[in-house]
Amino acid sequence: MHPQSPLIVSTLQKSYAGKRVVDGLNLELVRGECFGLLGPNGAGKTTTLRCCLGLTTPDSGAITLVGLPVPAQAREARASIGVVPQFDNLDPDFTAAENLLVYGRYFGLSDADIRPKIPELLEFAGLAGKENANIRTLSGGMKRRLTLARALVNDPDLLVLDEPTTGLDPQARHLIWERLKRLLSQGKTILLTTHVMDEADRLCQRLARVDAGRMMTICPPRELIREHIEAQVVEVYGEDAPTWALNQAPAFAQRVEVSGETAFCYVSDATALLQHLADKPQLRTLHRPANLEDVFLKLTGRDLRD
């Protein structure tokens, strides 16, 4: 175990074709925490991860991964890292067990070291008994879990996950979250990128909001909500919602956003607004506490970010 922070990044910069993708990003992980990089598509999350792993050479800045300078000693540093990439890249020619065996060899482990670990890893991934299953026959969720198991073959100190649950159904997502929590309780450090707010809220002790390659805020998820947004949200649906939002809503809500036929009213106290809405049966309403997704939409806007 390395006593120091598993990953320290300072003033990282990277441009592609003249466009700044990562712009002076700073980051320091605390051992044993789950740290989330939150941001819209194209915010520079994946590029940041690739730089941290030594797979992309930054234009400037310093990276220390498990105590080693990156990219100079990236290969050595990666020996203590487990990576779950954004897109599954399991070996389709191999069975589940062979995937783990072959991957372990890339870490310089001998077959005798790896083979006894395989049942344990598959068990952890909820794939017990699937040793000989062909990768092509596994569901999306199973592949994701096998990729997670593969990332654990070297018993890493730091796990790096790039959108670990994107594209999975709710059951598969919850299973992954449960496993990640188990890893955190074993003392592993996790760095993940996500735009699933629920995921960030459940797993991360600290969140960094990344936009246009810059780190905007670092704080615990609840604080992010408290700081940036009113406590409650009333969603108002219906054909008349946009007109209502324009003419009447501002009297009751601190902030109103309209997206299509839905008006999002942000309030610290919803009583007056709900009373007003009770007389308008043509408008359907949903009253709920504000969540990270609201923060995310407020800060990055409702328009597509491609």
């Binding site: 234009d59 400037s60 990666r78 990439p85 890249n89 072959v102 890339y106 870490f107 310089g108 070297n154």
Partner: protein
């Protein structure tokens, strides 16, 4: 601190033993399909060898002091080594790089791109050598080669494999899609097969064309 490091790195490659893990990965895939792969690698050149060797050979006097089929046999060893190395380093490596993202997965482990390249190169050369050696074995058994000196072909086969695997990997790195490989085959490999003495001695060509002797002879 890294100061504006260029994306182009001209330093010499740094290899490690992890390249062997890459080699072993490809070997494990191959082992699952070894029989059809070997048969495929053998059948095509053998059909050419016997078809042309006996068919065309019947019309020809001796070529370079040996029967035409014996002449063609040695050319076939070279030609199929070259083909096997090229196909592996082009189509198979391209699949691993782009389609399956195998290299990307490998490089998330402590394996550098240099190691991946070395593993791929040695693998393509090994697979090509197997093709070449299999054909050499068949023609030895059929008695087209009498001298034990023919065993000197073994290192030549391996070097031929390495050479064409390396060329193939360069094309793979540059290719935007599989279609691109057609240029390489049409403009480079096919002319080489026809002009470098697989089917006929280069000496019979136009007087201004004096190719260097074929790898095999």
């Amino acid at each position: 601190m890294i100061k504006a490091m260029s994306a182009l790195d001209y330093s010499l490659p740094r290899f490690s033993l992890r390249a062997l893990a890459v080699w072993r990965r490809n070997f494990l895939v191959w082992r699952k399909l070894a029989i059809p792969s070997l048969l495929g690698n053998l059948a095509d050149p053998m059909i050419y060898l016997f078809g042309l060797g006996y068919g065309l050979g019947g019309l020809l006097p001796q070529v370079g002091g040996v029967t035409y089929i014996a002449f063609l046999a040695s050319g076939t060893v070279c030609g199929s080594t070259m083909n096997a190395a090229s196909f592996e380093a082009l189509y198979s490596s391209f699949s691993r790089m782009h389609m399956q993202k195998t290299w990307e997965a490998i490089m998330n482990a402590p394996v550098s791109l240099d190691d991946v390249m070395l593993g791929e190169l040695l693998w393509a050369a090994a697979k090509a050598s197997l093709s070449g050696v299999a054909i050499l074995a068949v023609i030895l058994m059929l008695g087209f080669v009498a001298s034990p000196l023919a065993l000197w072909a073994l290192p030549v086969i391996f070097i031929t494999g390495l050479c064409f695997a390396a060329l193939g990997l360069i094309i793979t790195a540059l290719a935007p899609s599989y279609d691109f490989f057609m240029y390489y085959f049409t403009l480079f490999i096919t002319p080489m097969v026809l002009l470098c003495g697989v089917f006929f001695p280069p000496i019979n060509c136009h007087p201004w064309y004096k190719p260097s002797p074929h790898g095999c002879r």
